[in-house]
Symmetry: C2
Subunit: 342 residues, 2 copies
Amino acid sequence: MTLNLVPFVSVDNMMKLVLHLGIERVLVDLAAEIEADFRRWPQFDKTPRIASHSDVGVIELMPTSDGETYGFKYVNGHPGNMKKGLQTVTAFGLLADVETGYPLLLSEMTILTALRTAATSAMAAKWLAPKTPTMALIGNGAQAEFQALAFKAICGISEVRLYDLNPQATAKCARNLAGRGLTVTPCRSAEEAILGAGIITTVTADKTNATILTDNMVGSGVHINGVGGDCPGKTELARDILLRSAIFVEYPPQTRIEGEIQQLDPDHPVTELWQVIAGEVPGRSDPAQVTLFDSVGFAIEDFSALRYIRSQLGQSGFCEPLDMIADPDDPRDLFGMILRAM
Amino acid sequence: MTLNLVPFVSVDNMMKLVLHLGIERVLVDLAAEIEADFRRWPQFDKTPRIASHSDVGVIELMPTSDGETYGFKYVNGHPGNMKKGLQTVTAFGLLADVETGYPLLLSEMTILTALRTAATSAMAAKWLAPKTPTMALIGNGAQAEFQALAFKAICGISEVRLYDLNPQATAKCARNLAGRGLTVTPCRSAEEAILGAGIITTVTADKTNATILTDNMVGSGVHINGVGGDCPGKTELARDILLRSAIFVEYPPQTRIEGEIQQLDPDHPVTELWQVIAGEVPGRSDPAQVTLFDSVGFAIEDFSALRYIRSQLGQSGFCEPLDMIADPDDPRDLFGMILRAM
């Protein structure tokens, strides 16, 4: 492929590629890629995402670079979209060669973000959660099935207990998970869902300071995978839970603005997950400890995911060339190239 | 077109669209769009571009929004690319709907950036430069012809005097401009090029603190269109010229880092061009004054350019649909959509 043609992975090709590889294998591979990149965290250029907020949502750019490859993701978050029949979150992303600045890959990332978010959650739980066969899954929307399968494939979860304010969402989730080797238990309340669960995943969509979990619902020794508290004014956990949890985050300057810890003082102690993975600090230090992964999603996870997709393209045909970069024979002669298009 | 399909303007279609409309008409239209957006400057979300620097170049994201439409550009700057037969600057950009976060347009922007940069230069000169038939054009690379035609179409320039360290670049530029209604005068030195020129455009590519113009070369009453001093460590003008010029800039927080004024104290007075256009402050105040447009390129110019291209697409066929946004029938059922792709 010549340099001016950028491989593009459409939504259709992403679905076909994921099915070709197998969803659980993709989740396991993504978790390994993300873990490897978290282990070399200091090598990356890091910046909080660049957000453009409006009354109804946010549009964000999430760039990072490891000095050889540059990547960024475009992603929106519009909680009101669902009522219009649209996705709350849509995304696409790009990889480029740092040496030349030329793009290497353009890809849909709505699906890929759902996969990498679940893979990151399960990878973090591998380091932080107690051994448990059971996960509560509160919020059964677009992200739910990905979370369930990631925790099955990466953490050995065998039962998921589902709850959503909307019973239709729970029914949809249970239907999609049927026959995939998980015991799926729909529940009528959050309290019922967390019964016996060593891991509690919260992944609800409302842009509000909600209280999905109250303090008395969270017993000792539990791991909370907090996914849905991910932008200013959007949290899911009672503040008291945070005060008695060991809190692990991706990139503190971003999580302090967007995560559950926006409810806490700006100097409240948190641990960076990469330091646990790199062996610099301990993860769970006590079976009775409540651990919280306050996940908001960081650019390096998207970078890992895009690099993984690129590595799997090969001769697969799951991409198409996009005529995106003007590349005149004489680089000084951009004007002449236009004239010759006549 | 359904929402999941994003109109994409390829390099090929951009060339065809520009030729279909006519290059000078596009330059005039772009200058008008950019001027209109500069006039409503306070309505925009503004941020200095987000740069990822390496030893060999920079990759940047340039977002902005007017509250209804969001836009961003990806652009690289790699001065060493030319020796590899690659473009120094390549770019693409996107418009999105602030209400939903869904993309509205994806477009190549290597060509469009060249056009909007020239249109912005000429639009600024319309407000700042003396009446003059003659422009010196120092630096005859990929941007040169666009500058020449923009100043012809927008400022009434009838003679361009060309100089480049590389005579082949000058020859290329003269060849491309032949027969377009301009008197084109190749010169053997920068000194010769500026003879009688009321406007001096500097648009060289080296990433270095160069001195393309020394102080004694710039006579009173001249307008300098400084285009090539556009990133940290890359300037073209002797500092003494800046000290006796009235300096006009796009967005001071960005220009202080990237423009000619990186050579000056951070509180050296500059005027924002939009304030001149909005009638808030005067432009040129004296025929003897040296005016400098210290141009680095700002996100709003790309926003204006993308909106213009979108407005010209209509039923033209100069775009193709890109399957970029996952859009399941039930927005909660992203997982089910993947399964159904089987």
